[in-house]
């Protein structure tokens, strides 16, 4: 196979805290690969390891034909990065941000200038070309950061939570742009904790928790492998009591979270009939999705 990036038994600890714990991963050319996980799962550390910004305690890592971190400089020449936190240059205009960033790759001013119109159009920022970035909205800044990551025409783009903090309009525009990039043959590696984002964009996913990959596959495969195909959510004051008495007979599995009961079933009909007897309970019947898988694999408790 044509792996652009591969990691074997990657490990990284800070003190006695194990952040990446034997990670194995292989990303193929042209795919959009999603790394999912709750906060603190080790996603960002994994990305930093892959870029050669920190050294692993053990394991092997290759990006293109380069061993990372030893040849990380050559590897980064062909990579674009959209970081989690905004680090645009606040003193500069939109165009200056792209120009200055392109120079770090050793690209001549003339070449960057020639690429500018396309980059600005891609980011929907043509009309903001000479505006200071401090006046841009959150969505515009994200788009500029994405355009900045493309200034060296990279083969692989790393995106660390690319839509966190954006409103729905801004998110949809970013998603559309990311699909365009995969359509143009770019390889994308993105981390996210938005399941709808992962489901829409990613060809393949890995769910990460406590520094390990606990499940991997296409969104559909992950759902098929990990969870019953149908979900009935039951709401109401007495839902929990009802579940203890009745849901056990009709659902393979159920979980209580506050005043909601999540029933996981292969065939929902018996459960739905049972619910007809309880008009005080409201319910929602839907197919299982990635969020169900995620919560099953990583648990419902808060990560802080």
């Amino acid at each position: 196979m044509n792996a652009v990036l591969s990691a074997r038994d990657l490990r990284k600890s800070y003190g006695d805290q194990i952040v990446v714990d034997g990670l194995n991963l292989s990303i193929q050319r042209g795919e959009c690969f999603g790394l999912l996980g709750p906060n603190g799962a080790g996603k960002t550390t994994t990305l930093r390891l892959m870029l050669g910004l920190i050294e692993p305690d053990a394991g092997e890592l290759r990006l293109f034909d380069h061993a990372v971190p030893d040849q990380a400089r050559a590897a980064r020449l062909r990579v674009g990065v959209v970081p989690q936190m905004d680090n645009l240059d606040p003193d500069f205009t939109v165009a200056e941000n792209l120009l200055v960033y392109g120079r770090y790759f050793g690209i001549s001013d003339a070449v960057i200038e020639a690429r500018l119109p396309d980059l600005l159009e891609f980011a929907n920022l043509t009309h903001k070309r000479d505006v200071k970035v401090t006046t841009l909205s959150g969505g515009m800044k994200r788009r500029l950061t994405l355009a900045r990551a493309l200034v060296n025409d990279p083969e692989v783009i790393f995106l660390d939570e690319p839509t966190t903090g954006l409103d729905p309009q801004a998110r949809h525009l970013i998603w559309q742009r990311l699909r365009e990039l995969t359509a143009h043959g770019k390889t994308l590696l993105l981390t996210t904790h938005f399941m709808d984002e992962a489901e829409r964009l990613c060809h393949r996913l890995a769910v990460m928790d406590n520094g390990r990959i606990i499940s991997e596959g296409s969104p559909r495969e992950l759902i098929e492998q990990n969870i019953e195909p149908q979900v009935v959510e039951v709401f109401g004051e007495h839902a929990a009591a009802w579940a203890q008495g009745h849901a056990v007979h009709h659902a393979q599995r159920f979980e209580v979270s506050g005043e909601t009961v999540y029933c996981y079933v292969s065939d929902a009909q018996p459960l739905l009939q049972e619910l007809q007897q309880h008009p005080e309970l409201r319910y929602l019947h839907r197919p299982a999705n990635l969020e169900d898988v995620f919560l099953k694999l990583t648990g419902r408790e808060m990560r802080e």
Binding site: D70, L88, R103, Y104
Partner: protein, 267 residues
């Protein structure tokens, strides 16, 4: 330098230099250019105010120091003081802002630039600001007619060396700083005593022997010992020693700060 360079496998590895520090210098220059007017005004106004205020104010009450008028004596101190200050402020406040507040370093590190390139560019950039500040003071000195010597042109490379020295020392503090408040320690405990102990405003010989000994270890003393004769048309005594001390501080400071930054940014 080859395009491919092995990443440091250890905090203590020797620095690896590449030409990729240049685009970072250009980035800082572009920021500076946007505020060049006020920056240059500050570079010129500060030494003028000091030299006129203290030169006339104090100088009027003082006899000549050696062969020199007090104002001429002071001008050599002010060159060194200004260049030290320029590099220190840049390495501390602006450097910290680029590393921590604005995350400029994080953005740069995602490109083929390494931390070694960044720290080197910080030193060179802060020294560039010292150079500019030294040039401004020299201009004032010439305009006020306090030096007619061609030797005074040596102040230009000296300003660069003093800049490299204090930029490197300042970056050690930046690498350790949890926040901007931390810099007060450095200015209060290091920079201010240095100004008073190193012969900027009065000859070191006025100090008790113990303080004279301390003074002889401080980099600013060696800068002043070079600048004062140069402005007074004399070749400085022991100039190789003074250059060596300033260079030693610069190299040691650069290496120590690099080790500390590697450690800090690997977290």
């Amino acid at each position: 330098m080859t395009g491919e360079s092995k990443m440091t496998t250890h905090y203590f590895a020797l620095p690896e230099f590449s030409r990729r520090f240049i685009p970072i210098w250009r980035r800082n220059f572009l920021v500076w250019k946007k505020m060049a007017g006020s920056a240059i005004l500050g570079n010129l106004a500060d030494p003028v105010i000091y030299m006129l205020g203290m030169g006339y104010g104090l100088g009027g009450m003082l006899p000549k120091i050696g062969e020199m008028s007090y104002m001429a004596f002071l001008s050599a101190g002010i060159v060194c003081y200004s260049t030290m200050n320029s590099a220190s402020f840049e390495a501390l406040y602006s450097g910290f802002s680029r590393m921590h507040e604005q995350r400029t370093w994080d953005a740069i590190l995602n490109t083929p630039v390494t931390l070694d390139d960044i720290v080197f560019s910080e030193v060179v950039w802060a020294a560039s600001k010292s150079l500019l500040s030294g040039l401004a003071v020299l201009l004032v000195i010439w305009l006020l007619g306090m030096s007619h010597s061609l030797l005074s042109l040596w102040i230009i490379p000296l300003a660069l060396l003093v800049g490299l020295c204090f930029a490197a020392l300042g970056l050690i503090v930046t690498a350790l700083a949890p926040g901007y408040d931390f810099f007060m320690y450095y200015f209060t405990l290091v920079i201010t005593p240095m100004v008073l102990l190193c012969g900027v405003f009065f000859p070191v010989e006025q100090l008790p022997q113990l303080l004279q000994n301390v003074s002889s270890l401080l980099p600013l003393t060696h800068a002043v010992n070079l600048a004062r004769p140069l402005l007074n048309d004399a070749i400085p005594a022991h100039f190789l020693l003074h250059i060596a001390v300033l260079s030693g501080y610069a190299l040691t400071g650069f290496y120590v700060s690099l080790v500390l930054f590697r450690k800090r940014l690997s977290q």
